[in-house]
């Protein structure tokens, strides 16, 4: 029951033999080289972002101060708050409604198995650009083109929706069961008939799921586009920070959190029911 019992059965050859966990990278030069590089990068990056402990510490009382000014939240200007929130909702809903419809032709064009190569490449190129650029940047340009307001925001969300739904729907179309499509083709159906009776029924449930998911995302995004002048509650929020009306800011933030939570819950509940 003690160490001596254990050694009874063992050979003496293992005594004093050391053990180290085998390193992830076997080559020591490479391993330590990478470690040194990583450490050097961290030092450099922390320096590059002007991390200054004094400034960080100085921020702490400011943060506490801000938090104190935030509570209690000020809902007295609820009219202004409500206007902004409703505008955000309207932007998001309308943009989703149009965006998901436009997504359908885009998705068909971006599916390798449905269209000729040049069309496919053009559609994929569009999706690549739209999905890569942050929505806020798209919004800035649309504000320049269409002026300040919800219209620019709505367009931004529409375009972003086509990028999201278009790409995922295109992947669904590419993954579909070729047998069912062949069956329609075999009955002598033309391209449109194949699309309507072969492709649509198979992709519909996922498509509806994607639409609802995107509505959820659009509701979130619609609350911040106002920061760049594209309508909704974001402008009100930005201004309240600029005027140091932190209690009003907090009220707006709480409203945004509430919207996001309700949207996420509803979206999850609906998607769970239909799939």
């Amino acid at each position: 029951m003690s160490a001596t019992d254990g050694s009874q059965a063992a050979s003496a050859s293992t005594r004093g033999r050391s053990w180290r966990k085998p390193p992830m990278i076997a080559n020591p030069v490479l391993r330590y080289g990478l470690l040194v590089l990583l450490a050097a990068y961290l030092v450099y990056a922390v320096d590059d972002v002007n991390f200054d402990l004094a400034r960080f510490i100085a921020g702490i009382p400011k943060a506490i101060d801000m938090a104190q000014q935030m509570v209690p939240p000020d809902f007295s200007r609820w009219q202004l708050l409500l206007d902004g929130v409703l505008e955000s909702l309207q932007m998001a809903i309308f943009a989703t409604a149009i965006g998901v419809v436009i997504s359908i032709p885009i998705a068909v064009c971006a599916a390798r198995n449905m269209v000729p190569k040049p069309v496919y490449l053009a559609a994929r190129g569009y999706l690549g650009v739209v999905r890569t650029l942050p929505e806020v940047l798209i919004a800035i340009f649309l504000v320049k083109a269409f002026g300040f307001g919800a219209f620019a925001g709505m367009l931004t969300l529409t375009i972003a929706s086509t990028g999201f739904v278009g790409k995922l729907l295109a992947e669904d179309i590419e993954d579909l069961d070729p047998g069912q499509v062949e069956a329609i083709r075999a009955t002598g159906g033309n391209w449109l008939k194949v699309l309507l009776f072969g492709v649509a029924p198979q992709t519909l449930p996922r498509y509806i799921g994607l639409c609802i998911y995107r509505l959820d995302i659009n509701l979130r995004e619609s609350t911040i586009l106002g920061i760049v002048g594209a309508g909704g509650i974001g402008a009100t929020l930005y201004n309240s920070f600029g005027r140091y009306e932190y209690d009003f800011s907090f009220a707006i933030l709480l409203s945004i959190i509430a919207i996001v939570l309700v949207a996420e819950w509803a979206s999850g509940a609906i998607r769970a029911r239909i799939t």
């Binding site: 219209f151 920061i227 920070f241 959190i257």
Partner: protein, 276 residues
């Protein structure tokens, strides 16, 4: 989504011939009602858009005009955007590291099977919800107000914004671990911290790596805009170019953002394939 046509009681014409319809009558009515409500909501939504039609009709002209002014890109400006672009990457990377470090304890408290008690579960959930619901631009505004404008505010904003996302996904990973392995470590008499280090951490390592590299990719994209509200990176350069109406410079900045975001997506996919 296909309704189930009730075969038992078919639908008959007055002359007694059985006809086929896809859906029963109440089902059709219900669907019609849902569509009607949907259309009404969309119609209501458009009333809020306050469209200034002169602006909209003018827009194609405006877009063409803007596009004309943006071309050709100011290639000579390339040298000047390298530093802010690197700063953007650094903000994203440090922000992601910050989020990674902070989200592991939050995830442990947010998972049903590792949290300490109901209070800690709720605290962790509030942190996750708050972090996820507030956009990085808003976090950037808040931290720029606290720490002053600059990349430091950006790092903290990106970090705080990412905690919710990473902690939520890691917590879901923790809830799915094999309890037997944890139990076996606990049975050796290991303390709670050692059980986490030996029983839980090895199991969730692939999840952590996957989630964090995925988030890093998202953060590269997001940290290119937080400069618009003063939190450092290429967004600041973009903002000043736009304020000066220097459109050729704006073009080159957009190209740079595009390339970096594409590259980060590629790197992130590569890393995830390597490690998981």
């Amino acid at each position: 989504m296909t309704g189930d046509p009730s075969m038992a009681d078919g639908i008959y014409t007055p002359t007694g011939r059985r006809i086929w319809r896809r859906r029963s009558r109440p089902e059709t009515l219900r669907r019609f009602g849902l569509w009607l409500i949907g259309v009404m909501i969309v119609v209501w939504a458009i009333t809020g858009l306050n469209v200034h039609w002169p602006f909209v009709l003018d827009a194609p002209q405006q877009v063409a005009d803007l596009a004309g002014r943006m071309m050709p890109p100011a290639w000579s400006f390339t040298g000047e955007i390298v530093a802010p672009m690197i700063e953007t990457i650094n903000i994203a990377t440090l922000g992601t590291i910050l989020a990674c470090v902070l989200s592991i304890p939050v995830a442990l408290l947010a998972a049903q099977n590792t949290t300490l008690n109901r209070t800690t579960l709720w605290i962790a959930r509030v942190i996750v919800v708050t972090s996820r619901s507030i956009n990085e631009l808003v976090w950037a505004i808040i931290f720029a107000a606290i720490f002053g404008p600059g990349p430091l505010a950006g790092v903290i904003a990106i970090g705080i914004r990412s905690i919710g996302f990473t902690a939520k996904l890691i917590a879901e990973g923790i809830e799915e671990i094999d309890r037997g392995q944890v139990e076996a470590i606990a049975a050796t008499g290991a303390s709670r911290a050692k059980v986490i280090a030996y029983g839980i951490l090895p199991q969730i390592m692939p999840t952590i790596v996957g989630v964090v590299t995925f988030r890093w990719d998202i953060n590269i994209r997001q940290s290119s805009v937080i400069g618009l509200v003063g939190a450092g990176g290429i967004g600041i350069t973009l903002n000043s170019a736009m304020n000066l109406f220097n459109w050729p410079q704006v073009t080159i900045i957009l190209i740079a953002i595009f390339i970096v975001v594409m590259a980060s997506e590629w790197v992130s996919n590569l890393l995830r394939k390597q490690f998981t």
